[in-house]
């Protein structure tokens, strides 16, 4: 009998990519911003009383007749924060974007936990909903799965409020992966800037449905927002599709430009894509790499 998540085994050779050094105080396998006892020598300084004499570089002492000690970076754990958009707009698509986003989140969590990173998960729409604290070890998968299975689309997107709330709650920055469609009337830039200000290493996984990129309308249709079922309507026909597609292209270009400007990792996927295609797409985008 095939296990339901057997495909995750294929991801064990991957590692999540963190662009900067880790600021975590907990020892781990990722390069840290603090000095420590790793094998890699990053700098030298004059010896001061109290320093470990094992760190004195005797070759330099022979050359300069002054003692210098080797400075080494510490290795710390990587904190992987995953934010999953569960607003109503994630219900759109065939299959729904949320179902596809669940698979991506599970894959990211598995890769992180397999590499002994601390992985936490939060879901949001206009605010944070579920929040699983950062933990390491594969036993963390069980609460993650519980949340992912229980989550349902609800609420209207408010990225700024949700990101700001998460930034306040997070004890220290780390790798923050946001899985969302980034459809929010209030925009996404302010919230992302807030997270950047908290020195999060941001990765955006943009989940879209194929119908959103090229909608097909047969005749005149009245459109209604999934997130505002009782809100205003827009009546369009085939001629409006062109304008919509142009607006969508501009929106996607703006997201890419924002990521490029702020050196964010950005990956775009289409719901319903094959799992292998998604892995390859995230690999090309730099979300993870093979060890």
């Amino acid at each position: 009998m095939t296990e339901p998540y057997a495909y995750l085994k294929q991801l064990e050779y991957l590692t999540l990519v963190s662009k900067g050094r880790v600021a975590s105080p907990l020892p781990g396998s990722r390069p840290s911003t603090a000095y420590g006892h790793s094998a890699e020598v990053t700098d030298y300084r004059p010896y001061h009383p109290g320093d470990d004499v094992r760190s004195i570089d005797w070759n330099l002492y022979a050359r300069f007749h002054k003692p210098f000690v080797r400075l080494r970076h510490a290795e710390a754990e990587l904190d992987v924060h995953i934010l999953l958009d569960t607003s109503h707009s994630m219900e759109f698509g065939s299959p729904p974007k949320l179902a596809y986003a669940r698979e991506i989140v599970l894959a990211l969590s598995y890769v992180g936990l397999h590499n002994l990173d601390r992985v936490g998960l939060a879901t949001f729409s206009d605010r944070l909903h579920h929040h699983i604290p950062l933990r390491r070890g594969k036993h963390q998968l069980l609460p993650l799965l519980d949340v992912l299975q229980a989550v349902t689309p609800a609420g209207k997107s408010n990225l700024h409020r949700a990101f700001k709330e998460y930034a306040r709650q997070a004890t220290r920055p780390g790798l923050l992966i946001i899985v969302s469609d980034f459809f929010a009337e209030g925009g996404y830039q302010e919230g992302l800037r807030y997270l950047l200000a908290r020195r999060f290493d941001l990765m955006l996984v943009h989940v879209l449905a194929a119908e959103e990129l090229q909608p097909r309308l047969d005749g005149s249709v009245t459109l209604r927002d999934l997130e505002s079922p009782h809100g205003p309507e827009v009546t369009v026909d085939e001629d409006a599709v062109g304008q919509y597609v142009r607006n969508m292209q501009a929106f996607l270009a703006a997201v890419e430009a924002f990521c490029l400007e702020h050196h964010l990792t950005y990956a775009r996927t289409l719901s319903g894509s094959a799992f292998e295609d998604t892995v390859a797409r995230l690999l090309r985008a730099g979300v993870w790499h093979s060890r």
Binding site: F92, T222, R224, D225, S228, T235, D239, A240, V241, Y244
Partner: protein, 619 residues
């Protein structure tokens, strides 16, 4: 331009419906999307209050309107009058009547006509198109308008005249129907028969006359008829006429039955004189009668005449009577009658065992009268023919219809009998004799039955001892036994044959052998055979399934035998008027309208496809 089916134009009323469909506000479906702010807010204008609006794709509406208009146009079958091939159109009409067989020097009139026609053919211009019509009893289109001179020469050279009169009027009308403005050249001998009614005389009709000869002697009649004084005897009657206006003609006349010559006469006919001859006492003769005159004249066809003397058929008579001496004696003198007698009791007991041509019921009437011929004498009160009144004592008879064949040579007018029984006259019957204004002799023919009813006793001495009894009985027997339709044993040339065949003949077709020996087969419809190929004079034989009859066809047409040209010679080479440089014809345009409609439909479809393709592709 005009329309052959203008009612289709009513379909234009459908076009406003199509416009209404476009104006109709579409029923919009609701659809949920993940966001609204990327959609253009004013993509569709606000809807009109009446529920009508102009859609964006007006070009498609115009395409579809144009397509429907073209389709309706095609259904209305438009046609235009347009030019045809260049050149004049000339119709050659050949008079194929019997008079065209007149021998002029070394050639017949028809051969002269063909030569003149060929000369005309050479004279016409290259692009002129010629139609050839043979004017026989019915006009025959030999060749439609064409300019192929070789084919036309071949068509003309195959034409032959008939032995029958010709209908030139129908031939001219046929040419006019084919082309109203065509020049018509009528090659004819200009006899009285060739004169056309004024209605068809016109400027574009030109007579090309052939023939000059005028001397002709013809057998104008040859008949087999009953002898005037001996009704059971036959005689032959023939008449010869000299149609020449100026020349007397010595004639040797001979009359033969089969190979036996029964009469010969030599005489001279003055111009316009006619002579009749009769051959009598031909009771036992039968076969083909041939009359021939040996004379030097122009037309040979009418120098021969033919007739068929039919074989007298026996008449079987059943006399149902307790005994009637006078009737039996009167019937015995009829040469064709074979009589059987039967008492009424026997008739009632055994009924009718075999078929009889005539059944005589003397004071007796069967319960049911089937199809057949009946003579009913003294019908009893209560019968169908008998009136309910009592007998009339001492009435005087008065003849109502003296010209009726039943009363031919019967003298009973004013005869006073001791008593009569007045009869009923059924609807459609003919009252022949009355007594005190009551019918006493009635003839009736209805539903396959012929009935003669006599309301007085033929035994009455005032009548039985008179000569009128056998004559009346003979008339009655002949009238009752006569066939429903007399056999047409003699026809004029060109006259169609309509032959009623006996019911006992089980066949669907018969063979007719023409005088030339050629045989043709004709179908029988409702026991009637119709044959219209009597174009040759002579004896025709009709046979099949053991049935064999002969009939004769003769040229008994004075207008054909009188070969004197009465039309003036006129202009032998009339100038043909030049018609429009291009002859005119109607051309239907619906195929073109249909093709354009299909092209418009394809363009409409292509525009729809382009609209779909023009939509921007997904990033």
């Amino acid at each position: 331009m005009y329309f052959l089916n203008p009612l289709a134009c009513l379909l234009v009323a459908v076009l406003p419906l199509l416009v209404l469909f476009y104006l109709r506000r579409p029923v919009r479906r609701r659809r949920m999307v993940s966001n609204l702010y990327l959609w253009p807010r004013h993509a569709v204008p606000r809807q009109a209050r009446l529920g009508l609006q102009w859609r964006q794709d007006r070009w498609r509406l115009l395409w579809q309107l144009l397509f429907l208009l073209l389709l309706i146009l095609a259904l209305a079958r438009p046609a235009v009058v347009r030019g045809g091939a260049p050149g004049r159109r000339v119709a050659f009409i050949f008079d194929a009547s019997a008079s065209m067989n007149v021998q002029e020097d070394t050639r017949t009139r028809f051969e002269l006509a063909r030569e003149k026609a060929l000369a005309w053919l050479q004279r016409l211009e290259k692009h002129d198109r010629v139609m050839v019509i043979l004017a026989a009893t019915h006009p025959v289109l030999v060749s439609d308008f064409q300019s192929d001179r070789q084919a036309l020469r071949h068509s003309i050279s195959t034409l032959v005249p008939t032995h029958a009169p010709a209908d030139l009027t129908a031939a001219v009308l046929m040419a006019r129907l084919a082309a109203q403005d065509a020049e018509v050249l009528l090659f004819t001998d200009g006899t009285a028969a060739a004169q056309l009614p004024a209605a068809v005389q016109e400027q574009r009709l030109h007579y090309i006359r052939v023939g000059q000869r005028e001397d002709n002697v013809a057998i104008s009649r040859l008949e087999v008829r009953r002898h005037l004084y001996s009704p059971y005897d036959q005689e032959l009657f023939a008449e010869v006429i000299n149609f020449s206006a100026s020349r007397s003609a010595p004639v040797r006349f001979s009359l033969s039955i089969g190979d036996t010559q029964i009469k010969e006469a030599v005489f001279t006919l003055e111009p316009g004189e006619r002579r009749a001859m009769v051959a009598e006492s031909l009771r036992s003769k039968q076969g083909v009668v041939t009359a021939h005159i040996a004379v030097q004249d122009g037309l040979d066809i009418d120098n021969h005449a033919y007739a068929v003397m039919p074989q007298p058929q026996p008449i079987s008579v059943l006399l149902v009577s307790a005994g009637h001496f006078f009737i039996e004696k009167a019937l015995e003198v009829h040469p064709q009658v074979t009589m059987r007698t039967m008492p009424p009791e026997t008739f009632r007991r055994v009924g009718l065992q075999e078929a009889f041509d005539v059944i005589i019921c003397d004071g007796f009437q069967p319960q049911h009268l089937g199809p057949g011929a009946y003579l009913i004498l003294n019908p009893q009160p209560g019968n169908r023919q008998a009136a309910s009144r009592a007998r009339l004592p001492m009435p005087a008879l008065s003849v109502v219809r003296p010209q009726h064949p039943l009363l031919a040579f019967v003298n009973i007018d004013g005869l006073v009998l001791s008593e009569v029984w007045p009869l009923k006259a059924p609807p459609g019957s003919i009252v022949l004799v009355e007594a005190d204004r009551q019918p006493v002799l009635v003839a009736e023919e209805h539903a396959g039955r012929r009935i003669v009813t006599v309301g007085f006793d033929l035994r009455a001495p005032q009548f039985a001892l008179s000569v009128s009894l056998p004559i009346l009985l003979s008339n009655v027997i002949d009238w009752l036994a006569a066939p429903q339709e007399p056999e047409m044993t003699s026809l004029n040339a060109g006259e169609p044959l309509r032959w009623q065949l006996p019911a006992s003949l089980e066949t669907s077709s018969m063979t007719i052998t023409e005088p030339s020996g050629m045989t043709v087969r004709r179908r029988i419809v409702n026991r009637v055979l119709t044959f219209d190929g009597t174009m040759q004079t002579g004896v025709y034989t009709l046979q099949g399934h053991g049935y064999r009859r002969r009939f004769s066809v003769n040229l008994f047409a004075p207008e054909e035998s009188n070969i004197q040209p009465i039309l003036s010679t006129g202009n032998e080479t009339p100038a043909l008027q030049r018609q429009d440089t291009r002859s005119r014809a109607s051309m239907e345009l619906w195929p073109y309208a249909l093709i354009v409609a299909l092209l418009v439909l394809m363009l409409e479809w292509a525009s729809r496809c382009l609209q779909v393709v023009r939509a921007p592709a997904a990033p």
